[in-house]
Amino acid sequence: MNEQLLQQGFNVLSSASIYALVAIGLSVIFGLSGIINIAYGDFMTLGAYVVFVVAPGGAIAFVWGFAASAVAVAVLSIAVERALFRWTIIRPVNGFLVSLGLSQIIENGVAWHFGQDSVTVAPADSANWTIGGVIMSADRVIIILGTVVLVVGLILFLDRTQTGTAIRAIAADREAAALMGIPVTRLVTGVFALGGLIAGLGGGFVALLQPPYPLLGAELVLKGFVVALVGGLGSVRGAVVGAVLLAFIETVLVTAGLAGWLDVIEFGAVILLLIIRPQGLARGLAHSM
């Protein structure tokens, strides 16, 4: 029984890592622009497919695939922000609608080019370690540690650097920030690039967990959105807490044999939380990260 609980604990950490990455990307973009980018999950899908194209054989080549994924999706995010989302900043609901269309285009484009079936990315490291009865695949350890590094780096960047402070200022009051001489437009583009980078990295991690397929991102983005809401839209720390909470609830329900009620209980809890605390667990980007 203890072994099962410890194993489930490890599973929670790896699931939470993926949820956190989706939520953080959604949160950061929303916090700055007010736009809910439903296509964010599809950006992660693209990241996963970049890894498939660059490093289908896994192993050490995965590092290159990972890097390529981060760069490619960051560049795509910049392009999309400049071409589409920039013109919807003053009316974020239009941005949401644009992201819906973008999501369809990406999903169908990926399916058209790669086919509807999943593609296989070999493990970065096929080792499995058993510690205290807990089986830890090397790939899941990579995902957990990589996410920790990314989150810590992001928090430090937003809290301790001048650019990070400027970003938080824009989130607090865009006009005041512009009047203070902060290059708002450039930083918004930068945040989209950052979000794209996180999506690319997240997509690479997801490719380690399961074979990528065209609708992968669509399934992840809903969970990510829930986590972002629970954690507080715009809050990185909140997204992490929300991700762990969601993964924990899911695993408890599965262990208790209530997996069939998972979505009902999960979303029911979210609705209850948002009624009691509409801002989520933490405040947004402008405040404490």
Partner: protein, 428 residues
Amino acid sequence: MKAASNRGVLARRPIALFAAAAVLALAACSSSGNSSGTAASGGSSAGGSSAGASGAKTIEIGMDAEQGGALASFGLSFLQAAKAGVAYVNKTGGVTINGTKYNLALDICNDNSDQTQVAACATKLVVTNQDKFIFGGLADFGPILRGITEPNHAIYFSTGSAVAALMSSSHYVVNTVPSLDARSLMSVTGFKKAFPNAKTVALLGEQDATDQAAFAALQPAFKQEGLTVVGTQIAPLDATDYSSFLTALKAKHPDVIWNELAAAVNSEPAMLGQNGSLHAATVVFNNSGSCQASYPHTPGITYMAETNAGAITAGPNETAQTKDYEATYYGLGGIKNPDPNISAGLYIYDFFPILAQAMEKAGTSTDTTKVLAAINSISYKGVDGTISIKNNQSTYGQVLCTMKDGNSGNSQFEVFPDGTTTAIGANS
């Protein structure tokens, strides 16, 4: 500065809205739409009989195809099998009714795996085009099609369990797949023949009606073969990480995980990869899978699958008819070669010559009551072996395969409705 930036933004507002509309329109174009086509010479998109370009008359067969969306990976294979079935009938002389020769032609409508489009396709094929015979409509789309074919007395050749559950209230549905109870028993019988020492089973499926029905049908089969169910996990449809489910099942120490996760939407490949690390069980039986090289090659794990067909598609037991089917299937082009879902199409391929024979026997292509009576009187030896149809329910054998340590070899064998099997292959 603020006013100037506002003017600039406002000036671009129409552009933003136009761009958004263009994006949405492009998305709509890429994801919707019907297409019609024919798989044989001649033919038009009108239903019933018509004169084709070559002068031969044609009988239109409606095909509601999932050519896009979540079910496209199986939908495209089914469509290709339908094209192959039509090509086979036309190649072997077509249909002769009262001295007049007809070719078959497919009247295809793409539902893009969308419920609304399924209804639109069904209306177009049955009501507008007056097609009397309909194929397609995977999974939960079947009842939507049935809802339109039944009142219009069009014969619907269904492959889905959702429609199978409605057989008692249907007059014009032919179930091309052996009943769920029969298939479950054949699967379990075949599994037990390959693994006679197995005692305990853990069930893993998804939160949908198909899996619930499958689990219910498996219980008496397990009991009959002396297998005990020690755990059941039902995953939400949007699950991507099955590690927690596998860990929970592993605690029950099952001899086999009986997997009902859908291969069509990629949940099965994800679960198999994750089980490769966790080793929740050393044998995994995939109810809708195949023994393909794309499965994770994990030492110590044996996969077994019901290959969704009654025909052996590899190895020494493969028949000339199966080879001919494969040659036609790939020869038509437009499908990936090899197609991992080629065997799925075998659930409908044989039913095109069965339909052709039934129309000839009934002496009509428009009186569906007579054609249906003729279908139920035919015993056809096809790629799936001997197919008999009684009370609109087809019966034929089922092929299972095993793959140990990632090596599929020639391990396919067939289980027949009476519980007998062909020789079990070297890798089982």
